[in-house]
Amino acid sequence: MSILIKNGRVIDPKSGLDGILDVFIEGSLIKKIDKTLSGEGKDVEVIDAAGHIVAPGLIDVHAHLREPGYEWKETIRTGTMAAVKGGFTSIACMANTNPVNDSKSVTDYIITKARSEGACRVFPCGAITKNLKGEELAEIGEMVEAGIRAISDDGKSVKNSGILRKALEYAKLFNIPVISHCEDEDLSKGYVHEGRASLLSGLDAVPGIAEEIIVRRDITLAAYVDSPIHLTHISTAGSVDAIRQAKKDYRKITCDTCPHYFSITDEATLGFDTNTKVNPPLRSRDDMEAIIEGLRNNTIDIIATDHAPHEGTSKDVEFDIAAFGISGLETALALSLALVHQGVLTLHELFRKLTINPAKLLGLPYGEIKAGKTADLIVFNPEIEWTVDKNSFFSKGKNTPFHGRELRGKNLITIVDGKIAYKDPSFKG
């Protein structure tokens, strides 16, 4: 089975390729990229992508698939279905499942399950410490052998600096990144950002410095032991500033932010909509602007979703006791394209942060459109306007603060490993 994608604007942020070209896919590989390729006489599915953009499939370094253990919130099947609908062809899933992915057997389970049921590639992220307790290192080497591509205690910081130091050193053995969730738990007894909105709502609040203190600590530790560090879901102006400064002296720092941190602010929490409850919390307008500037000046390398699906009853309660998290895979592309529409980033700059940069972080051979490379790619249209409807999500998690919002830019086709994994019902051609 072969696929010929004709007449689309093909972009590849790594090589800078950008033009109206045809892409011929045979088996799982991209065979040829050229003007006016012909697929006649063979068993070829021809896709007319005229007026659309053909780009590398998106890669998410931070998602929660909830399986094993929380299958009522999401499964590897539903989570990867949401991913391909959103344009993702590879996703890294965090370790806070039940049991925690802190051993080879859990990693094996996730990888086996993803191979049989996953709609896209799944790269598990192992825990840094056993049971995410922050006390003893997990069996990182065995998990690497089983297929993890990073380690993280995401959901919390490794509070003990000595343990984190050892993790940073030990991870060098395997050349995998340590992904750090930055939060000083003693400063973060709250549910929203500490600022003007929390003053009005009376909700217990978390100051931005709860993140910044750990950003600085983790960078200090990584630089001391000369290990790479990746700071995930960065949300404050202070963090962006600290990272920008630190990158001048120490090059092995990368970071990501999520669409909600550059799309909405803590003002969204004023109506007590629990879909706006997320960790780190939605920040102030100044923070949001600093995040956007950080994306523009490349302090922030990657856009990740922090896809955190929850069932209705976890959110259909009082704000204080509602679960943290936003179901993000199906809105990430359109929210990110707003950065292009607003003139913050070029299309190539945006796609670097969604494809090749995440691929580099996880050491993946994906994120490119190039002859001979694996055919993981998408066809999307940056201009199509649509209204977010949580009820049409493939994810079990309907927890989005963007329900009802008009967005511009839509994924139409997702090809994983040379096969069509998703085709939007509206796509003609």
């Binding site: 929390s198 003053l199 709502s201 009376g202 909700l203 309660v317 009082e318 704000f319």
Partner: protein, 307 residues
Amino acid sequence: MKWTKKDLLGITGLSKEEILFILDTAESFRDISRRDVKKVPTLRGKTVITLFYEPSTRTRTSFEIAAKRLSADTINIAASTSSYVKGETLKDTAKTLEAMKPDVTIIRHSMPGAPHMLAKIVESSVVNGGDGAHEHPTQALLDLFTMREKKGTLDGLKIAIIGDIIHSRVARSNIFALRHFDTEIICCGPPTMLPPHLEDLGVKPEHSLEKAIRNADVIMTLRIQKERGGVAYIPSIKEYSTMFGLRKEHLSKAKKDVIVMHPGPMNRGIEIMDDVADGTSSVILDQVENGVAVRMAVLYLLLGREA
């Protein structure tokens, strides 16, 4: 003016005109409580539920008396006796109560936004009887009513609010309401008890009690919100009382005709001393009396609203 809102969830969302409309309506209800027969048939056939997830004496009783004096039927539900302890969610409790067709539900809850959640679920009216550290709108309305009664006007008043501001829904609602008028608002307490960004609300933060009450027309003292962890914000109750407890000698710094208010319950000897609480400047019991009239006005307006 005609009342159109279904719910009273906070002072936030009320216009100055609506605040004054409630206060003016309350004036006309106050006399009812002073008659021999303290009852009018205005809300006959209406059902009022008080749903209290936090302990309360004065607010719940005040609402119940207000409803009864308007001839409404009242049902009181306390969290300790409700399905809440059996694990029922607020949403299910709300739907269950709604199925019994109340006209108004007054909710008190330890978590901000609980009344807002309730109001989205039920079609009947919801009144916020205090939600965590967020709002306590009827308290602020009765406080404004009392200030206006004692001072003749709200404009030109200097009001000092003393105590655990960061955890206080009474302070928040009063600030939101008083901002509509030409008032000077000072919040006083140790720095740990004053939330950041207070200035953005047009409030002056102050850490000296004596400076805060200088030339004040109104002094409002608040208790330490132990249930919201207020005690951890100070080294000791004793030290707090020494520095921020209101004593009779302090009153000489304020205006001669200063009034002292307290939303209750008071912790005598901590934030307020006996000689102030029971002194001539105290209007604390007037607040309680006015609370009934203000709550009668609120129930009357919500139930008589124009569709």
